[in-house]
Amino acid sequence: MTTVNNPYLPELATITKIIEETPNIKSYQVVFDDQEKMGRFSFEPGQVGQLSVFGTGESTFVINSPPTRMEYLQFSVMKAGEVTGVLHDLAEGDQVGVRAPLGNWFPYEEMKGKKILFIGGGIGLAPLRTLILFMLDNRDDYDDITIIYGARTPPDLCYKDDLKDWEARADVNLILTVDAEYPEWDKRIGFVPTVLSEVAPSSENTVAITCGPPIMIKFVLQGLAQLKFKDEQIITTLEKRMKCGIGICGRCNIGSMYVCKDGPVFSLAQLKQIPPEL
């Protein structure tokens, strides 16, 4: 017997595929065990889910497969602690719990007709991937798409198959970079913010969406300001420790705003309205 709409009760799902993205990031494709629910499930690009390993706990990950491809839901997990550690030990065929979708999403309707600039670092490409694939599946709705993506070393770059794909496409401008020289690396070298300044994309009719480590974000925002991006043109995602994911348990607040429910997606203009507690 279960209550309809118990927001704490995860949906059981099975891992159908595991992809080793980098030495410490794995992607998990999961499918709800209840086929009917899988068929009915819908979400928006940027929304997150809580993955459960029963006995260990729950952690928050962005759904990084787009709503336009619903054969499975994909989550990418960087090994960071208890739950992510155990997730890394799971195999295809294992069961997990999923509570999704949670949170808000990228305002893709407002981006229609605009140039899109994605700037990502490391695992920060995960939420961007959802939106990138979503836009590629609705390619006509958007103007130029530029992706600047960097990681520490080439093996640390996520979604290598996608990167190959995007590189081959004429309608995407992909710029890859790594922090330092590396054998056989023939693309850019340098930190993401530096590459951003070198590429110097125009801010005109453009929306910039950025996600990555805090230090990268900090300098990317400075770089974007120099390129005359207005706060309303810059979108990022926030991260806070989470538990409930539905705005009740109290830990993810910044002032009166709850990252789990009012976020994780914010424009820089919105962020400037809330107290600085990151």
């Binding site: 209550t3 006995g55 065929g93 294992d94 806070k240 348990c249 607040n253 002032g255 009166s256 507690e277």
Partner: protein, 353 residues
């Protein structure tokens, strides 16, 4: 029309007996030197003379609760294949809370907004809340540290209660506030009460006079508290004596934060929900080691901020403190939230923030 019932003092035990037969009845009882809400039976010693040490929030929002249990089953044919089964845990019995204070009852109104007035209501809280009646005792005297009248309350406030009880010289006057309360007052132990109403009214007014009034809520208060957000030295000064424990939040009738953890033994286990609080270091600690509220003044700022600024911003100006004074009374070092609010008002007035 409110129903009025009078109960002579010597019939109190009989009433508690009668109520406890029909549903779970929680009454403040002497427990060691503390007073705690306990499920009533003949072995308990009810104590109505002072507010309970801990608020009744645990009756509707238990300090530890099982959200669901899980069991791993091995497939009989393919031993490597394991499937998991979940069982929701939502058994709730009808309950009466007897002898809460008006501030205790109001605490639940503050819970209600995030827990039930949302698009993702909390079924555990809601079910218990719906099945609980609250019989509140108007405070016969203020308690050390309390300040309900500063936050829009009153020692005889009816908000959030189903019945209001007033202690009179030789008995109690019971007044129903809701339908739930009216049903309770149908018990044959009650005598006609209307002739005692005036006496009760006088008591209420006399007690209200005795409550201290450390500050006054104004429309600008939420903005004033918020304007101090980046003023570290203000918060450091308020927090320097704080020892970062959980007394103030765990004893607070309005503090509603929680943790969720899994526990497993063998092939089965449970996901539990337990109280947690923003005064603890761990509350916001992230896996990377980063902690947005690593310092105690940042945490105190969140506690005061949540009650007097963030919550009211979110919910139509409602202050998330009912002035029960427990955090003041039981703080190991007497951090006084009402004093901090008063300081915030003074500071912003003096510095024109």
């Amino acid at each position: 029309m409110a129903k009025l019932g009078y109960l002579p003092k010597e019939k109190l035990t009989a009433l508690l007996e009668a109520l406890s037969k029909e549903q779970r009845l929680f009454v403040p009882c002497q427990a060691g030197d503390a007073v705690l809400f306990q499920q009533y039976d003949a072995t308990k010693t009810p104590c109505l003379d002072r507010p309970a040490t801990t608020p009744p929030k645990g009756i509707i929002f238990p300090q530890d609760d099982t959200l669901f249990t899980f069991t791993y089953h091995k497939d009989a044919e393919d031993l490597k294949k394991v499937s998991v089964e979940l069982k929701e845990n939502l058994d709730v019995a009808p309950t009466i809370i007897f002898g809460a204070r008006p501030c205790d009852a109001k605490g639940f109104l503050i819970y209600d907004r995030p827990y039930t007035e949302t698009d993702t209501p909390d079924p555990y809280y809601k079910k218990r809340r719906d099945m609980t009646a609250i019989m509140t005792l108007a405070c016969p005297a203020p308690s050390p540290g309390c300040f309900c009248t500063s936050v829009g309350g009153d020692p005889a406030d009816k908000d959030g209660s189903d019945v209001l009880i007033t202690q009179l010289e030789s008995g109690y006057l019971f007044e129903s506030i809701t339908e739930k309360g009216e049903t309770i007052l149908q018990n044959s132990l009650f005598e006609e009460g209307s002739s005692y109403q005036e006496q009760a009214q006088r008591t209420h007014e006399a007690v209200a006079e005795l409550v201290r009034k450390p500050f006054q809520v104004t429309e600008e208060l939420t903005q004033k508290v918020l304007s101090l957000f980046e003023n570290d030295s203000f918060w450091e000064e308020e927090a320097n004596k704080c020892i970062s424990c959980g007394a103030c939040t765990y004893l607070c009738p309005t503090c509603y934060c929680f943790n969720i953890t899994d526990e497993q033994a063998g092939s089965s286990g449970e996901r539990i929900r337990t109280w947690d609080a923003c005064m603890f270091y761990h509350f916001t600690l992230e896996a990377s080691g980063h902690n947005p509220r690593a310092l105690k003044h940042q945490r105190l700022k969140n506690r005061v901020g949540h009650k007097f600024s963030y919550y009211p911003q979110k919910y139509d100006g409602a202050i998330a403190c009912c002035g029960c004074g427990r955090c003041v009374r039981y703080c190991p070092v007497s951090v006084d939230i009402s004093e901090i609010v008063a300081h915030a008002q003074e500071y912003t007035n003096d510095h024109g923030e």
